[in-house]
Amino acid sequence: MKDISRRKLILGGLAATAGVSGLGVAARIAQKYGLIPPDHGGIYGLGETLNYASQRLLTRHSLAREFSRSQISKRPLANEQAPPNESFKRLQAGGFVDWRLTVDGLVDRPAAFSLAQLKSYPSRSQITMVQCEEGWSYIAEWIGVPLSHVLDLVGVQPHARYVAYFSIEPDWWESMDMADALHPQTFLTYGMNGDELPIGNGGPLRMRVSRQLGYKSLKFITRLTVTDSMKKFGKGLGSAEPEGGYAWYAGI
């Protein structure tokens, strides 16, 4: 009995050592294949990394569920007040004709797009669900231009890894990896349910990231930057959300 437990102890020790060195190797491979999220540090880094890595492996090309027109929510919850800041009010007074989306960073041709320009590109629509991390949801038709189309226009450089995007609201910004940025359902959204995108739902311009929770779909966006590392932004955690205690990856 004693001998057996000693043998078990030694075997267990060996297994643990192999496990720990295995983890080291796994971490290096994960880093190479872009499976480590920007907010991987800290006590919840393990769960966040497993969430991000596993869903990246499973869902790189999968499409968010699309619904029929009859499933569109009768009253899409407008959970946003117009941003109270002065520059928004000024642009609103001008009918948003001066609204600009500037695109810079690791691109060959940095540019600024007006809403009219964005609307002149091939428009796409999707009937998908917005889910809030709180638990509520609604379904709407989202109309816009795929982000990949605009990224093609500006010419993304090969070492790009993330797209960071910023709201007209100060300190409100997000980012996503290139798999999501080039995903066919990731839209620069200017329309909803056959009409203009209401301010309460993020109009005049909202990012739509359909395979992640609502907070990834940042409202009132005015700038996006292509980058190879999120370390250069804010506290380096990937977006404003982890700085406020929320996970950067919002696919769950």
Binding site: Y44, E48, Q55, L58, R75, Q131, E134, G135, W136, A247
Partner: protein, 262 residues
């Protein structure tokens, strides 16, 4: 060699009646294997973390719906009129609770990963070691209505279990453990994953067969309630059976009754 051992040390699966009597204290085998004990306590910690963080997430939107969608503009299936951590919820309290969803969601998923991996280790090794067959699958004689009635009646009288039950589970225990391990646990994981927009993009059937994303959320809540009820009964039964002996068995592996020691 193997035969010699089996003479001295009765295997865990021997029937309730003979086991306790034949085991001399000096060569007593573990009541629970080390793997069962370690996975049990990891699961306990994770379950408590999931429960606390789950309640925190719930109070940010204490309304439940059926179907694909639901929000404050739609009619809930049912709701709890408790103070909430969001201004969207108007339950008539003059205050809003502090937002705890950030760490709650981080903790919920981290604990979920650990408990799922622990559960897989337990389940796979349980099949290989015969743990389920020997310790949890009820014997043919025990699943008759008569035997079940007798066990239920003795439970309803809150009868102290016999010394033999320190060595082996009775039929009600076996059935409820199997139900928790193979029905409730997989269900709570499934309904949880069915709420993930990324997961269901890869496996849409996982949410469609449940009736929609809000249905998955509502079912997740009910399965969690069932697990909490199991936990409550489990803890009460440990006190009925003898807190010290059962805790000792699950921590050190040594069995026996409280009466023997006091």
């Amino acid at each position: 060699m193997a035969e010699l051992e089996s003479v001295q040390v009765p295997p865990l699966g021997v029937s309730v009646a003979d086991s306790a009597a034949v085991v001399p204290a000096s060569v007593a085998p573990s009541r629970h294997s080390a793997l069962v004990r370690v996975t049990h306590w990891i699961t306990t910690l994770c379950f408590l973390a999931l429960l606390v963080s789950g309640v925190e997430i719930l109070i940010s939107h204490p309304r439940f719906y059926w179907g694909e969608t639901g929000n404050v503009l739609t009619t809930p299936l049912f709701q709890f009129r408790i103070p909430s951590s969001r201004t969207l919820i108007q339950n008539g309290y003059g205050y809003v609770l502090p937002d705890q969803n950030g760490w709650s969601r981080y903790l919920h998923f981290q604990a979920a990963w650990i408990v799922v991996l622990t559960g897989l280790l337990y389940a796979i090794s349980g099949f290989f070691t015969g743990h389920f067959r020997k310790n949890l699958l009820p014997g043919k004689r025990d699943v008759s209505w008569r035997a079940l009635r007798a066990t239920i009646a003795s439970h309803l009288r809150f009868a102290r279990p016999s010394a033999a039950e320190a060595w082996s589970y009775n039929v009600l225990q076996r059935l409820s453990y199997l139900f928790v391990i193979f029905v409730l646990f997989p269900l709570v994981v499934w309904t949880g994953l069915a709420m993930s927009p990324a997961f269901v993009s890869a496996f849409p059937a996982s949410v469609n067969v449940l009736g929609g994303q809000q249905s998955a959320r509502t079912l997740h809540f009910f399965v969690s309630i069932a697990l909490v009820l199991f936990l409550l009964v489990h803890v009460v039964m440990i006190f009925v059976a003898g807190f010290r002996s059962r805790m000792r068995a699950m921590i050190t592996g040594r069995a026996g009754t409280d009466l023997e020691r006091t």
